[in-house]
Amino acid sequence: MCDQTFLANVFGSCDKCFKQRALRPVFKKSQQLSYCSTCAEIMATEALHENETLASLKSEAESLKGKLEEERAKLHDVELHQVAERVEALGQFVMKTRRTLKGHGNKVLCMDWCKDKRRIVSSSQDGKVIVWDSFTTNKEHAVTMPCTWVMACAYAPSGCAIACGGLDNKCSVYPLTFDKNENMAAKKKSVAMHTNYLSACSFTNSDMQILTASGDGTCALWDVESGQLLQSFHGHGADVLCLDLAPSETGNTFVSGGCDKKAMVWDMRSGQCVQAFETHESDINSVRYYPSGDAFASGSDDATCRLYDLRADREVAIYSKESIIFGASSVDFSLSGRLLFAGYNDYTINVWDVLKGSRVSILFGHENRVSTLRVSPDGTAFCSGSWDHTLRVREVVFSFPVCERRGEG
């Protein structure tokens, strides 16, 4: 015989069915309610159903992902560096800084080249956006944005306008004017509206469309003239930090990378994610397409750069070294795709041989982290912007080929 304990019952009207019954305290989303026993039972089974569904969905997703990895692995018959063994090694590199652009009073966060191969737009933490003729180092235009941390800027293909944005959650387009009487800020056009900071922006093939990436986890395509949202891209699970348009013939896709460690390839027309890659171990700070458009590289806080092939649908190379500890903030390819330049948070720039996977050179010179790096449109030089307030344009002076340096493997 066991003792029977009786609950003290409260009688009243049930919060759900409003019938006069014996009530039980029930917690729904941390709010205490009083349900009759019938309603309490129903609620319990409902919750169970929901959880089961969630759990089963999760396991289904996991198993499908596993199957996907298997399929991808089936066609992986050789490693890139093995195939690259028959390629001649690159010679000894000497890279010199040819121009140092000083003028920003604060950290340089982003830069972009103009199609004329010499002009540059750069943006900084104090809200200043400057257009330089980097060949002569003259400043041609300067705008002060109403916000700080202008993390994204882009040059229009025609060279007649620039776009920028940051903590103001917007992307604004400024037409460039040489008219002394006109204030550039007066003609500013607010194009994109996000619900969190703007992390990257890029014009498509014309001045009239802009693609943006934001801390709100989405990317979006906008019509500059009207500010209308043409397409939005949802799928990232966290902030989107970077994007790059594909140099393909049919020009329809772009890749984005985010804090959810995923790099996703999108179809601009439908807004759907076409391919996704999740092999990085930390935030992806920068993505850039290989010049042929068949692959793209990504730089991440996990101190590695990786190459993903779109046709093989997998990661095909990792560029890392044990001594490289800090994250890569920006990457770009040389014109032939043989060299990968990556700027890191430990103030250095590492240059990688894309095919062989080895590091070709390490460049010092910046006094704070390298935040942005782009190769010029005709591939004659590359420019790096840093938190040390400067931008440096560097090029390469080659020596004769030497056998690979020991330890540079």
């Binding site: 969630l54 969905l57 999760k58 289904e60 997703a61 499908l64 399929e71 050789v78 195939v83 010199k96 103009c114 199609k115 004329d116 010499r118 003729d133 060949f135 993390m151 025609s158 060279g159 007649c160 040489f178 003609k187 900071y197 093939n205 014309s206 001045d207 009239m208 801390g215 019509d223 003239e225 699970g237 966290a238 902030d239 013939e249 049919t250 804090c259 391919q275 996704a276 171990e281 935030d283 042929s292 068949d294 101190a303 046709r311 649908d313 997998r314 500890i325 994250g327 040389s334 032939s336 795709g337 043989r338 060299l339 006094e367 005709d378 004659t380 090029e395 390469v396 330890g407 540079e408």
Partner: protein
């Protein structure tokens, strides 16, 4: 200076993976067998055990990671900057001197990832201790901070002073050596967390990201998130993949084909403008130039896209098509491009113009599309949008690519262009390297009138944004 909004007390190790890696390096440096050689360092009259010299640190890094001297010094400097290694003699600046200067490894208690973020109260106590211990040891910026904190946490100031005195009293009971070490450790910690003006803070992060990471975590893993994943996986499983070896061969051939055209790999003629300060290279390779260089004409043969992207190449191709009476194909393609990348407001007008000129029965420049695509396109024209001509455009593009383009490459016209095109002579290197050529400025594209492309639609060319 404070670095923006204070990051929430998250998990710094997850947010800053480089800290974890640095810690691993530092731990292996302290390995009794494989680590850096430790020795006792004499400072005035005290002997401090487990000290290392700057040069030993650099050498260990060189050997362990097979680095050059410069890189090892840089890595060592970074470790010191983050406070994992501190100088014993001059604890005011965190720099690595690759000589006999003594250093020590920071205790894990004070590691950046352990005790983070640094609390204002603790800083106040630290400054108060310094002030009490010896009047006048506070440096200018420290004095400022001290005053500022005094106003800010005035209500807790008694606590601050009490704590400071208490800690000083406890410290007096330690051996002199330990006291010195702890003082250095604490000073290093504060140099990292409250850097003096002029020294960039190594802990500064971009805004928004500090809060992101592990805590923000994946927008709620709800049912629809998983459904999306499942949907994506199913689609991905159905896609065709290419063998890795095939993809890699493509890279190799692309790189070798483009190698001579890559200035950073093969140099450029007459000279790289950034080296010689002479913009002749850009003048010779301007978008519209009468005599394109040989390399440029060669590139037109690499792919159809290369040919179309080069205005000079495209113009020649248009001439060629004209001779074959298929010029309307290229014009149609250009008009479609204008539509795709044009302003939203112009879409209906452009679509209509294209239809009138290229697709309508009896149109002036009718393009030959297969009947099925034509049917689909005409159907879609009822509700015009910017992608309505995509199918037709692709069809014409492939037609040109598979048919006209190869014939162009085999044509006398192209061969003639290739033969005519010259290779610029290399600019002779200047005898006196110090005399710099004046760097000529060029007119900004924002000044030039936008070049109007010969679009079939006859509308304004793209990119009209001139003020």
């Amino acid at each position: 200076m404070a670095a923006g909004p204070a990051p929430p007390p998250g998990r710094p190790r997850a947010q800053m993976p480089h800290l974890r890696k640095m810690e691993r390096v530092v731990v292996s440096m302290q390995d009794p067998d494989q680590g850096v050689k430790m020795r006792s360092q004499r400072l005035l009259v005290t002997v401090i055990p487990h000290a290392v010299t700057g040069s030993d640190v650099v050498q260990w890094l060189t050997q362990k990671f097979c680095l050059s001297e410069e890189e090892a010094r840089h890595l060592g400097a970074v470790l010191v900057q983050h406070g994992y290694i501190y100088p014993l003699r001059d604890p005011r600046s965190l720099v690595l001197r690759p000589d006999e200067t003594p250093y020590r490894f920071q205790t894990p208690y004070f590691w950046t990832s352990t005790l983070w973020p640094a609390a204002e109260l603790d800083y106040a106590i630290y400054l108060a201790k310094k002030n009490i211990r010896k009047q006048g040891t506070l440096v200018d910026y420290e004095k400022e901070c001290y005053d500022r904190l005094h106003t800010k946490i005035n209500h807790a100031w008694d606590l601050v002073l009490m704590q400071a005195r208490e800690q000083l009293r406890a410290a007096k009971q330690r051996r002199k050596g330990d006291r010195l070490v702890i003082a250095c450790q604490e000073q290093t910690y504060w140099l990292v967390n409250r850097p003096p003006p002029g020294v960039p803070s190594v802990l500064e992060q971009s805004p928004g990201r500090g809060s992101c990471a592990a805590s923000r975590v994946h927008m709620t893993k709800r049912a629809d998130f998983y459904k999306q994943e499942i949907e994506y996986c199913r689609r991905a499983l159905g896609r065709t993949r290419v063998k890795s070896s095939v993809c890699f061969e493509a890279y190799l051939s692309f790189c070798s084909q483009r190698g001579p055209h890559d200035p950073l790999v093969s140099g450029c003629l007459p000279s790289n403008p950034w080296i010689s300060d002479d913009d002749a290279y850009w003048v010779m390779n301007a978008p519209t130039v009468v005599a394109p260089t040989k390399l440029r004409v060669e590139r037109w043969g690499f792919s159809f896209r290369e040919l179309l992207e080069d205005p000079v190449g495209r113009a020649h191709f248009m001439d060629f098509l004209g001779k074959e009476f298929s010029g309307e194909n290229l014009s149609f393609w250009e008009a479609c491009e204008d539509l795709r990348y044009g302003a939203q407001a112009q879409v209906p007008t452009l679509v209509d113009a294209v239809y009138q000129q290229f697709l309508a029965p009896g149109a002036a420049r009718w393009v030959n599309i297969d009947s099925r695509t034509m049917e689909r396109t005409l159907e879609g024209l009822r509700q015009p949008h910017r992608y309505v001509l995509d199918d037709a455009q692709l069809h014409i593009y492939m037609l040109m690519k598979k048919d006209s383009y190869p014939r162009f490459l085999k044509s006398d016209m192209y061969k003639g262009l290739l033969a005519e095109a010259g290779i610029p002579l290399e600019t002779k290197k200047r005898v006196f390297p110090f005399s710099r050529r004046p760097r000529h400025s060029s007119p900004s594209p924002a000044l030039l009138p936008t070049p109007v492309e010969p679009t079939a639609a006859g509308g304004p060319g793209g990119g009209d944004g001139v003020a």
